[in-house]
């Protein structure tokens, strides 16, 4: 049973669930691009496993979003028939893989964010979100162990691996400010105790990242003024290509099922 909410809040809850779902789905798709191409078999398996967990989490969230929406669309319809402007993932998740260091930096930034997010979301007033968060948190701990372990080895590794991870950090850090930029969806859902307040997550994420990056001998670049707004449906140019790839089959054969 889904508890009914006042209309404004109901719409905010749906948007909030889609933000979480789309972030996991888009990142899962990106990591899936590594399959068969990773530097070693163990990393191929590692990235594919993280992708699979994220895809599973996205399915739980999209299934819930489909129920909340109540228009008879399924999780597959939401994943494969929405256009770029309807995707509400954070912009960081859709950034291309680049080299292995680039993928690891993107991963560690998002893993650390999901760790704090799911840890607090376990106590959501929304029972379904609380259950999904508790389950996802356990998986995210392994993701973070993997990505932070690699960040340390790369950052505090050879001259080459250090240079590559520092340049990845410089390319990707600018997207992190979006994780903690509030809008009315965040405010409404936090007020109703559906979502944790972003102001509570930000210092925990920053402290964790600062400590880790220091250990990895990497330097945090300054923040830029431009604010990305993927979670409001305004994306970088990369998402469209990702969706074209991910959605091709379903759009060519509408309603296709495994």
């Amino acid at each position: 049973m889904i508890e009914a909410l006042p209309p404004g809040l109901e719409a905010a809850r749906l948007r909030y669930v889609l933000r979480l779902a789309d972030t996991s789905l888009v990142l899962a798709q990106r990591l899936g691009e590594w399959v068969g191409h990773a530097p070693a078999l163990e990393e191929d398996l590692g990235l594919a496993n993280i992708s699979l967990d994220l895809l599973g989490q996205a399915r739980l969230l999209l299934g819930y979003a489909a129920e909340l929406e109540g228009r008879g669309r399924s999780e597959d319809d939401l994943a494969f028939s929405r256009d770029q402007g309807e995707f509400l993932n954070v912009t960081l998740a859709e950034q291309p893989n680049g080299d292995f260091a680039h993928t690891i930096v993107r991963q560690v930034l998002i893993d650390a964010w999901q760790l704090e997010l799911y840890d607090s979301l376990q106590r959501s007033a929304d029972a379904r979100l609380s259950a999904i968060a508790a389950k996802s948190l356990k998986e995210t701990r392994y993701h973070f162990a993997y990505s932070s372990g690699w960040l340390l080895r790369l950052g505090d590794g050879t001259v080459e691996s250090h240079a590559r991870s520092q340049s990845a950090l410089e390319a990707l850090w600018r997207f992190t400010i979006e994780l903690f930029t509030l809008d009315e969806t965040d405010e409404l859902t936090a007020e109703a105790r559906i979502a944790p307040p972003l102001a509570e997550l930000a210092p925990r994420w920053e402290a964790r990242m600062q400590q880790l990056l220091r250990q990895a001998t990497l330097t945090i670049p300054p923040h830029t003024a431009y604010r990305w707004q993927g979670k409001r449906g305004e994306h970088s140019e990369h998402l469209g290509y990702l969706l074209a790839d991910m959605q091709f089959l379903y759009r060519a054969y509408p309603g296709a099922r495994w």
Partner: protein, 159 residues
């Protein structure tokens, strides 16, 4: 437990895990309840191990099939999300079977609370082992290697 519930549990205990066939789904701890409601068949609650585990749907289909073959054509298989699955629900018989199958079993939360528990090599019994990767051949396993016998092996992750 009523006799008609025990009968269902016995059927469920005949469904193997598709990836680790030495374990059945009851030993794996993923069957959360068996009960009757307003519908003619039993309701069986199953929780996924990992959210993306591809075995989840295979298990669901196998349960439906096995119950139908045992005469329960109207069974409803329901997904349970909370509380989230934990390896603490693996029975002690299951842990022993895993080790015999060559997979180092997970430590329980209580064991881990008392300190770091070494991952013991299932082939030679040495506790001098090292983590190769947090991820292995299935979502539930990590990849280890033994410093003594030098063999690689799987460790069922603690979740």
């Amino acid at each position: 437990m009523t006799p008609r519930e025990s009968a269902i549990w016995r059927v469920l205990a005949s469904v193997p895990d598709p990836e680790i066939p030495v374990l059945n789904i009851v030993e794996l701890g993923i069957v959360r309840y068996v009960r009757w409601g307003d519908t003619p068949g039993p309701h069986v609650g199953i929780t996924p191990t990992y959210s993306g585990c591809p075995a989840t749907e295979l298990i669901r289909a196998a349960v439906q099939h096995r119950l139908a073959a045992a005469g329960y054509a109207h069974a409803s298989i329901e997904q349970v999300l909370a509380p989230a699955w934990t390896t603490d629900w693996l029975t002690s018989a299951a842990r022993a079977k895993l080790a015999a199958f060559g997979i180092a079993p997970p430590a329980t939360q209580a064991e881990r609370a008392r300190g770091t528990v070494p991952v013991v090599c299932p082939r030679c019994g040495s506790d001098s082992t090292r983590l190769v990767s947090e991820f292995g051949s299935t979502p539930c396993k990590a990849h280890y290697s033994c410093r003594d016998c030098l063999e690689p092996f799987d460790h069922f992750k603690c979740l």
